[in-house]
Symmetry: none
DNA sequence: GATGAATGAGCCTTCATTCAT
DNA sequence: GATGAATGAAGGCTCATTCAT
């Protein structure tokens, strides 16, 4: 279905303002927590009124839900790209961890929301998110399994392994500072190395 | 200062009820988030009225603050014990990680609150907590440094190393399930191993 | 009915503590207003617990009521003394004003309560107080009338005259400061003079 | 800054409703005392919901504060008008007293609040009010001093004189009844006379 | 379409008062 | 007799959401 140029323009504006609102909301939610942020706060941070926000979103929850969906999408996309290359497990895992860590650092705010505000979703939304999380983990666990079978990865329950690996990366949303002494890239590399080889030196 | 037997009894009862309330609150806060939990909810979960809660605590924030203080104390105590033994770095780090992971798993709820609800504290409280976090990390970084100097730990910025190690452990509060296939001890051991030696096998 | 020595002692203590509480309450009520003062505040200011206050009084209102009664009694007593002397109107009025002004200044706190917190009384109490106020005023109006008939007081509606005279005195509870440059006696004398002769000098 | 016609209309309506609310609140505060009046009471007395009141005011205190500011403004304006005429002291004082008395009677409710609820203001507000009170008194004291120097006013500490004069007038808020036998004008005149010449007739 | 006004449910907190030992 | 514990009724205030123009 084609849209008239005018309708198209309007749709564009809608999308633009929505993005703006979602971004502003994400910033605030990450700082203070979903419940502590008012629709008014979100509007004010963009010099809009409450009503404007309600014009573009039906509810506060809807904004949160968009954040959840967008973050998932970006994570999912990253991993699909890597999978598509059919790399050997060691190489794949290295890239997955690196990319995951970078994603966490680049979108710290979104990640914080993702991990903290799940309880603010309704049951259906929560189920959906849980499912996607499982999919994401499953893809990585597959790689881990392949690595074990190829004899290159340490034998251990893959769920524990992957949760551990991702855990270190996810935690970056807590301690990574943009202004810090190391760039995100550097930190990501350190993580990859630490996870791959451990903190012990091999005699 | 000595208390009369009567006053002592009273204090004991007070402390008991306070513990009860803090525990109930922690459970609810962890499940639903601080803001989403009502003082009424906390009371009801113990078959108390809201007023009883207010008889033992001056504010909702005070309950949260007690949770923060108690959790810090338990973490701090663990590490002090280990430090007191003056073990070589490799041994010490292994124990620290193991104990930290176990702490996280054993008190998942408290840990969740610790990491999620910091923004609900007031400025002074936040400062205090930040200071304690730094102390805790510093003690572990000291061990890491000693390990690097002894040539047994991988050379890397100690702050990144320790944040990474603890990150994997901290993340356990997200995914560890008491009912899972593996015990907390087993999981802790896997983490220690993974962190120490990496997921790669050494040809 | 005679009381045993023991019961007498007890009654004395009761009366003593009650006085203490009423005095403490009056001070607080005057400072912050009846509603803004807690039973706990009253107790605490004497290092008592709330329960102690309730042991000596049945309700907060009862304390307030005692204040009202006591203050009335002291005003009433003063005027009775003066009336008993059967002085000529000019002399009597001069004494009444002087004594009234002194009463206001000496018990500023009580007076403040008397004039501010009447709405906190219940209907019956309010009626009783209104009646007493009328009695008090009536006695002074009588003097004023006698003065007019004797040709020594300015002819004007006696109610207005007396309300005006007392008004100036009552207002002292607002501006009189114990630490001020003038003693209560001096101020009372100035008032008497001002009221008797006016602020204009007679050419 | 110019407002669009629309914004202007809005502002007008806002101001109108605010006035309405302040007036209703003043009436209730005067009757029952600030603390005894609920935001709900204020709303209900205008057939508004509590929420409407909160839409137009941020807090109960803000309403009280507006009352304080408005009453001060009206008193201040009156005296400025009189001062502007540069009358001789006797004439000026007569007008000041008369106008002050009338002000008190015409806005009894506001005056009652002004004198009773000062303790409900916060520190800063209280300071501001105290400062204004001092300014007001100072202007009248100036007149009194001029009168003394001109030899037409009784020699006495001006602060005591003015506090006394105003005291009689202020007290009107306690006893003046609109329905009474005398009009406000009449009463004001009686006060002026009484204060100027005293209650004694001059032989 | 855009937004100012209104709403109602709910939450934290306070406090006079009662109760039980 | 004295008091610690408990209670319930408010009250101020917030806020997501709806409504009406």
């Amino acid at each position: 279905m084609k849209l008239s140029p005018r309708a198209e323009l309007k749709a564009k504006k809608q999308a633009y303002v929505q993005d703006e609102i979602v971004a502003a909301a994400a910033k605030l939610f990450a700082e203070r927590g979903y419940r502590a942020v008012t629709i008014d706060d979100i509007g004010s941070s963009l010099d809009y009124t409450k009503s404007v926000v309600y014009y573009y979103f039906n509810s506060k929850n809807e904004i949160l839900w968009q954040i959840f969906q967008r973050i998932y999408d970006s994570y999912f996309e990253s991993i699909q790209e890597i999978r598509a290359r059919n790399l050997p497990p060691a190489e794949a895992m290295r890239m997955i961890i690196r990319k995951h860590a970078l994603n966490v650092m680049e979108r710290r705010e979104w990640t914080a929301i993702y991990f903290r505000e799940e309880s603010e979703l309704n049951d259906q939304q929560r189920r959906e998110i849980a499912k996607k999380k499982r999919q994401y983990d499953a893809m990585i666990e597959e790689v881990y399994e392949a690595g074990m079978e190829a004899g290159v990865f340490r034998r251990m329950p893959k769920h524990i392994a992957v949760s551990g690996l991702l855990g270190m990366c996810n935690w970056l949303y807590v301690w990574y500072k943009e202004q810090g002494a190391f760039s995100a890239e550097e930190i990501a590399d350190y993580c990859v190395n630490l996870l791959a080889n451990g903190y012990l030196t091999k005699g």
